[in-house]
């Protein structure tokens, strides 16, 4: 009886694992298949002609894909710089100093996520058009930074809060000024969390679609927009290849974050 029950449990677990793996890897396999399908039409279950023609097309130096990959990365880097420039001081203030209305500040950074993004970005686009930064990299970077600040500020605040106060006091105690203490003790100890927050912002920017669509198009074309255009135009091969390219940094950075972001920092996010 017990043997049968444990056998049943084991087979149920493996069945669930298979389902989970299929849900995770099924769409990825489909993308990979589409990226090498030169001809694929009904009623065939698999591509009729395989080839790397579309890969060559995407990776041609003069192609749209390479240009928008460059734009995407450039925008993501600028976004990270702006977000960190704001979130390091803001995170320190929220994580370390006794601020009145601290919870309110934390929620302000959450606001951009709280409302339907289309509604927000239509209005942002109106204002940016007025300011003359619609369709510029600056406009897109500002939109991405506003979106990314919630991650960077919350994680930076948690990273600073996780630094033991005694470690700072020990530096002050043997002669370091407050500023010196910040740069030699607090910041290096909070750095892993801050780097992780930068990575989150980078990935968010790389993936961002709605804001770029309203603020950047048609002058600024990022990789997600290229993917959208290709998919709308029925070019599933280019869309699949673009999606796979977008996947690479995400996977790499997630591995990175797992190493950097310690449990005690994660436990303090939002607290």
């Amino acid at each position: 009886m017990i043997r049968a029950a444990s056998l049943l449990r084991a087979s149920l677990a493996s069945a669930l694992l298979v389902v989970f793996a299929f849900l995770l890897f099924g769409p990825l396999a489909n993308l990979a298949l589409w990226s090498v399908a030169e001809r694929w039409y009904t009623p065939y279950k698999l591509p009729v002609v395989y080839g790397t023609r579309y890969w060559e097309q995407v990776f041609r130096p003069t192609g749209d894909a390479m240009a928008s990959l460059g734009t995407s990365i450039w925008i993501a880097i600028l976004t990270v710089l702006i977000a960190l420039a704001l979130s390091v001081p803001a995170g320190y203030a929220l994580g370390r100093l006794k601020l009145p209305m601290r919870a309110l500040f934390m929620i302000v950074f959450l606001l951009p996520q709280a409302f339907p993004s289309v509604a927000i970005y239509i209005n942002v686009a109106r204002i940016f058009y007025h300011l003359g930064i619609n369709g510029t990299v600056l406009g897109v970077v500002l939109v991405h930074a506003a979106h990314g600040l919630v991650y960077s500020v919350w994680i930076a605040a948690a990273a600073f809060a996780a630094v033991d106060k005694d470690l700072e006091l020990a530096a002050r105690n043997i002669g370091a000024s407050a500023l010196r203490t910040f740069f030699t003790v607090t910041l290096p100890l909070a750095a892993p969390g801050i780097i992780a927050s930068g990575i989150f912002v980078f990935l968010e920017s790389l993936d961002e679609f709605t804001g770029t669509f309203f603020v950047g198009v048609p002058q600024v074309i990022t990789l997600p927009l290229l993917l959208y255009n290709a998919a709308m135009g029925g070019n599933y091969q280019v869309a699949s290849i673009t999606a796979l390219i977008l996947l690479v940094p995400s996977v790499l950075f997630m591995l990175f974050i797992e190493r950097f972001l310690r449990a005690d920092v994660l436990a303090k996010v939002g607290s």
Binding site: L167, A170, R172, G175, P188
Partner: protein, 370 residues
């Protein structure tokens, strides 16, 4: 040794604390503490948790803002100064070593701040490590060290800047018992060798007694008694101090002046003392505090021979080693007595208590301390 004595030169500084008051968010924690610390002395601040001893230490080095009062170091009031300008070095209970730095970087941090050349920093850290028994540990990560090693590095980091004043905030309480014993002696020896003024916060009575020249017993944000370990242990100034220093047996008494001297009554027993033996006992209702080893057991009908002989009943017996430890019910109290002979629980005995070893306080004061 030659190199050590050349590089170490902590001249102890004097501290005078004058009517120091500290409050946390409106709640007063220190109610006007005044203390003098002579150069080169080792003082232990002793008290139960919440008595303000750590607050006092942290306000001395500037981690806690003071409400009023002065902290004079060499006739200069440092109370308004930030921590980095006070010339005091602290050893933390949590070690507070910087995990992103090596042993050398940790210990050399204060020297680098002072713009010392690299060679000098390396030489000084090496000398300190030799003194602390950690020769060759410069490049170790502090996270790879044991608790005792970490606390030595923390001590070395504090001493590296040649502080006039060394503050020790329960530095041994995170260490296991055996290492704690050796560190007590090491810290004391180093302090004496360097002549630094040390202030040590602890809740461990034995640690305070074995390390310090002078004890400061604190109670609820005030100084309860200041004195050498012998003074505080043998002549506690209040019921609280007596109790805190281990005189945990409590015996209610009645003290009366008679023509020839003093009569002490406890639980039906009376002892008459001449004025020479009992010069200053308070009269009226009083409470006596005494240690477990003061009383002994005797037969119910034994001859008092000048001692207080209180009738009682053995309630429980245990054997902690060497002696038997009894709980005896006498004068309406449970009293702990150590005695060499074996008796069975339930036996009627009398407690032989030498009155000269009792700490007697008026009952009203004892009620406040309890």
């Amino acid at each position: 040794m030659q190199a050590e004595t050349q590089t170490m030169s902590c001249a102890g500084a004097a501290i005078q604390v004058r009517d120091l008051r500290v409050a946390y968010g409106g709640t007063p924690v220190l109610h006007g503490v005044s203390l003098d610390f002579a150069p080169g002395t080792f003082t232990a601040l002793l008290g139960s948790s919440g008595c303000g001893k750590t607050t006092l230490l942290r306000s001395l080095c500037g981690f806690v803002p003071v409400t009023s009062g002065a902290i004079l170091v060499g006739n200069r009031d440092v109370a308004p100064l930030p921590p980095e300008k006070r010339g005091m070095a602290m050893v933390f209970q949590s070690y507070a070593l910087w995990p992103h730095m090596t042993v050398l970087q940790n210990m050399g941090y204060g020297l680098r701040l002072r713009g010392k050349p690299k060679a000098e920093i390396v030489a000084k850290v090496a000398a300190l490590l030799a003194m602390l028994g950690l020769t060759g540990y410069e490049e170790r990560k502090v996270t790879a060290l044991s608790g005792g090693q970490r606390q030595r590095v923390a001590l070395g980091r504090a001493l590296a800047i040649d502080p006039g004043i060394l503050l020790l905030d329960e530095p041994l309480s995170n260490l296991d018992a055996k290492i704690r014993m050796t560190m007590r002696h090491e810290i004391r020896a180093i302090q004496q060798r360097l002549g630094v003024t040390a202030i040590h916060v602890t809740h461990d009575r034995e640690e305070a007694m074995t390390m310090a020249d002078r004890l400061v017993i604190m109670q609820a944000g005030r100084v309860a008694q200041v004195g050498s370990p012998e003074e505080v242990y043998d002549r506690p100034a209040s019921a609280f101090v007596a109790n805190f220093m281990g005189a945990e047996n409590v015996l209610p008494l009645h003290v009366e002046r008679t023509g020839a001297g003093t009569a002490i009554t406890a639980g039906g027993a009376v002892v008459h003392l001449t004025n020479r033996d009992a010069p200053a006992h308070p009269t009226g209702e009083a409470v006596a505090y005494f240690r477990d080893d003061v009383a002994s057991l005797d037969a119910p009908d034994a001859d008092p021979r000048g001692d207080l002989l209180v009738p009682g009943l053995i309630v429980a017996r245990s054997y902690p080693g060497g002696l038997y430890r009894y709980r005896v019910e006498a004068a309406g109290r449970q009293i702990t007595v150590d005695d060499a002979t074996r008796h069975e629980p339930g036996v009627a005995v009398s407690l032989r208590i030498p009155t000269e070893r009792l700490h007697i306080f008026p009952a009203a004061e004892a009620a406040l301390a309890a």
